[in-house]
């Protein structure tokens, strides 16, 4: 395997394919006409909670949420 095969510019800058693909999708969604745009923006919403574990116990979680807190 050639280790210096031509890599896409985004990978050379340290970005993964998923990041690249999501950025492209977000840019396209922002360029839509109105009724489609609001539907599309709901698709971008993300909600997750990540906690690192130490000594068998979860540490404080990082919560990323675009949905309003109920």
């Amino acid at each position: 395997m050639a280790s210096n095969a031509a890599v896409p510019f985004w990978r050379a800058a340290g970005m993964t394919y998923i990041t690249y693909s999501n950025i492209c999708a977000n840019l396209v969604r922002n360029c839509l006409k109105e009724p489609h745009k609001s539907e599309a923006l709901t698709r971008e919403k993300v909600h997750f909670s990540v906690s690192k574990w130490a000594d068998g116990k979860p540490q404080k979680p990082t919560i990323r949420s675009d949905t309003p807190e109920e």
Binding site: A12, C24, L27, V28, C31, K33, K37
Partner: protein, 203 residues
């Protein structure tokens, strides 16, 4: 004692198949539905118990490549939230691969193509349906099935030209003023996507 026997039986069929040189995937015949060599070897040693089912038994066999080229291409176009086209028979699709616009006809060689932001057109008789695809992959199989997967795909008439122009101007400006590699990459992606959107609207 019997444990050794079973490991020997299990290892024998795999060494036999590995020794045969693997032909091109375009020449592979439809895979067998059950592992006959294993079942026969089992029966010779343990005639009373049925041979266990191997993983091959549970898999659906690879669909055989028809010997004559089919007249239509079957397209599956899926997005994470919807299935745009599901087993639709068409004459041709043109996909925006990173290597350029690629036309796929029935009988196309099996290919995996990464897609760049661009227009995908589906040709059926005299109708052409165009979608702007943000990025994704296209898998073309030897039996004239094409699976196109994309994160976002919109019909061209849902794109707003004023926002495309604005975005293009913004990102061209960001590209010239970007400092870190990551910023440059993001601005470059912005420029690429907006120019593709622009040419989709005008082309």
């Amino acid at each position: 004692m019997f444990r050794h026997l079973t490991t020997r039986i299990l290892s024998r069929p795999t060494t036999v198949t590995a020794a045969r040189a693997r032909p091109f995937s375009t020449d592979v015949a439809a895979a067998p539905a059950a592992d006959e060599a294993f079942a026969e070897a089992w029966k010779k040693v343990i005639p009373n118990i049925d041979p266990p089912k191997t993983p091959l038994h549970f898999m659906t066999p690879r669909p055989s490549t028809p010997s004559s080229i089919p007249t239509k291409l079957t397209v599956n176009f899926v997005l994470p939230y919807a299935s745009e086209l599901s087993a639709k028979e068409v004459d041709m699709v043109i996909i925006p691969a990173t290597t350029g616009q690629m036309g796929v006809l029935p009988g196309h060689v099996a290919t995996i193509a990464e897609l760049k932001p661009g227009v995908m057109s589906v040709h059926e008789g005299n109708d052409v349906t165009k979608y702007f695809v943000s990025s994704g992959f296209a898998f073309i199989h030897a039996n004239s099935y094409a699976d196109v997967i994309a994160v976002e795909a919109v019909p061209i008439d849902q794109i707003d030209p004023s926002q495309v122009q604005k975005g293009l101007a913004d990102f061209t400006q960001k590209l010239s003023s970007a400092s870190t590699d990551l910023e440059k990459a993001e601005a470059q992606i912005g420029v690429d996507v907006h120019s593709a959107l622009n040419s989709a609207l005008t082309g």
